[in-house]
């Protein structure tokens, strides 16, 4: 059975179902991260004293990760652009580049977490570290999710290009929307946690 509206737009919404689906999911994600961001503000303004992020955390490493994640957003959108130009090989190369950059981000985060744990700085150490680990941990899980989806699309999932090129292009676009959202969340987390 053919699933309807995977490529063509539904007459009532004017959008293919995957596009509307990912935006509804992202709307729920906005509320998820929004609730945690709101908690961060509440904890910070209610605390008698709050450390500056740059005193507690590694700003150069986080800056590197910001550059890495923004670069990965560019490679992701370039992958979609290559598919639009009917160049699967280059699209897959950009997808693998996105996966590599995401793994670089996670490795840097691993070392960052490692240095905290080595110093005995666990979430229970302070309210600041508790919200820091919660926000960056949840974000890290989203990065991991992106690695899994993009690896599938660059690897076995790319077989769809031979039979359903438009549907495959849409899948990459939808995965890209998710990935750019992950980048967008980091763009706000970076100054809020590390620089203020």
């Amino acid at each position: 059975m053919q699933i309807p509206y995977t490529v063509e737009a539904r007459p009532d919404t004017g959008l293919p179902n995957p596009k509307l689906g990912i935006w509804l999911f992202l709307a729920s994600e906005v509320m998820l991260f929004g609730a945690l961001f709101s908690s961060y503000i509440l904890l910070r303004v209610s605390a008698p004293a709050w450390p500056h992020g740059y005193q507690e955390l590694n700003v150069p490493l986080a800056t590197l990760n910001t550059v890495v994640l923004i670069a990965s957003s560019v490679t992701m959108v370039m992958s979609w652009a290559q598919l639009k130009m009917h160049n699967l090989a280059r699209a897959r190369m950009y997808l693998w580049l996105t996966v590599t950059l995401a793994l670089v981000f996670l490795v840097v985060k691993f070392f960052e977490y490692g240095s905290h744990f080595a110093a005995g700085e666990y979430p229970e150490h302070s309210t600041f570290l508790a919200i820091y680990f919660t926000l960056t941990g949840l974000h890290g899980l989203h990065v991991l999710g992106g690695v899994i989806v993009n690896s599938y699309l660059a690897g076995p999932g790319a077989a769809m290009w031979r039979t359903e090129p438009e549907q495959y292009t849409n899948r990459v676009e939808v995965a890209g929307l998710y990935w750019h959202f992950v980048d967008l969340v980091w763009i706000f987390l970076f100054p809020a946690l590390y620089l203020l």
Binding site: T13, G14, L15, K19, L20, W23, L24, A27, V30, M31, G34, A35, F37, S38, S39, I41, L42, V45, S46, Y54, V59, T63, T66, V67, I70, A71, S73, V74, M76, V77, M78, A81, K84, M85, H86, E173, G176, L177, H180, F181, D183, L184, I187, F188, F190, P191, A192, Y194, L195, L196
Partner: protein, 104 residues
């Protein structure tokens, strides 16, 4: 992305590269300003303005919101209104705690 023919894609690629440069410049500004050790309120304002500009660039160009269908726009407006409400909760609770302290 709606309304993107193959002919437009090369132009899009140029735009993506320009946006990448803009995001890099904005990152340098964010980090640079943080080293100026401004007062907290000013530092928060500057950091959030730069982050909003960066986020808008990502949403408008990489996520193609600039040319997206109205259904997505209205969905996001609804989400944004709830998000703003969510951000006001800490402010209201903070004001409430001030009032309780003032009554004591």
């Amino acid at each position: 992305m709606s309304g993107s023919g193959g002919e437009d894609i090369k132009h899009h690629v140029k735009v993506y590269k320009a946006v990448f440069t803009g995001l890099m410049v904005a990152t340098v500004i964010t980090v640079g300003v943080s080293y100026m050790r401004l007062a907290v309120l000013l530092a928060v304002t500057v950091a959030m303005i730069v982050a909003t500009v960066k986020g808008s660039l990502v949403a408008a160009y990489f996520m193609h919101l600039k040319s997206e269908k109205p259904a997505i726009f209205w969905l996001l407006m609804l989400t944004a209104s709830f998000w703003v409400l969510l951000m006001f909760i800490p402010v209201l609770m903070h004001l409430d705690s001030f009032e309780i302290q003032a009554q004591r």
